[in-house]
Symmetry: C2
Subunit: 173 residues, 2 copies
């Protein structure tokens, strides 16, 4: 286990920061840890009455292409994950959930980011009007379990939280 | 879809860089994208003859605790993912693989990182001596499918690539 000797803020962004830390191991050796300091996020598996799951398709700047993902978003300052999950589902898909159940928390890139995603299963969905942010251009799609398994086999779903979230739902039944 | 207007390198690290870009939307509006520019990585689901899967337990500085993960590591400059997968499996576990099959590629945090993890299933494993880097203090554990499902239900496995990787293996059979 390593101890922080110095921590330097490199950049404070809208949702998270970049920092670089010097750390020391028990044997006295040192190294650098470059870290994304992230407030955490939520992701939601929205399950329709007919068993299909809602996915959102959006352009992702970092990847240079559109990805098909479960709805997700970053925690706002002081916001509880449950509140954030209901807000993000409504904003991105327009749906509200009768039940929003937290199933797990997962680190997305523990080698360099402290981001934890709180994963929810949303049921009892009621359609409404979506209200995306100006930099979000989102389309909504719905797929059944067999389609989703095939899309993961073919790797047309390429987003890790979506693979982890959908397979968690399908294997927990 | 947004276009880059300026791109600024904030920090060049050992394995990846931090940058901040100004981008413009088709409607003329602009925003900032803070990005981890990452060369990509591999993760391996190592499957023993008896059906158990090897996991590695290691302290993760960003999370402040030990995580149980499938073996993984960053691509070295010019290194092919297949070569990296064999190297990382050997270095972290000591095992060499008779078969190393690529099954998918996944983005870990597309909101702010271009990191893609190439996921492999390794079979025909032969034990050997591990050779971890000086900043890696790793212990190896092995679990059967039922244990893994239970550990994911209980969220004692908290790493996204591990949840996605292990469930991909268990659902593809």
């Amino acid at each position: 286990m390593e101890k922080t000797t110095t921590s330097k803020l490199l950049h404070r962004g809208r949702n998270f920061s970049f920092k670089t830390d010097e750390v020391q191991f028990p044997n006295g050796k040192t190294t650098t840890r470059d870290i994304v300091d992230h407030p955490g996020a939520v992701a939601i598996v929205p399950i329709l009455e007919d068993g299909r799951i809602l996915l959102v398709k959006q352009y992702r700047y970092s990847t240079g292409k559109e990805l098909l993902e479960i709805p997700a978003g970053t925690l706002e300052k002081g916001e509880a994950p449950d509140t954030c999950a209901r807000r993000e589902l409504r904003e991105e898909t327009g749906y509200t959930a009768g039940s929003m159940k937290k199933v797990l928390a997962m680190y997305m890139a523990p080698g360099y980011s402290n981001e934890v995603i709180h994963l929810y299963f949303a049921t009892g969905l009621k359609a409404g009007e979506s209200k995306t942010e100006e930099d979000e251009d989102i389309t909504i799609e719905a797929y059944g379990p067999d389609e989703l398994l095939e899309m993961m086999e073919k790797n047309t779903i390429e987003d890790a939280k979506t693979i982890a979230g959908v397979l968690s739902f399908l294997t927990r039944g």
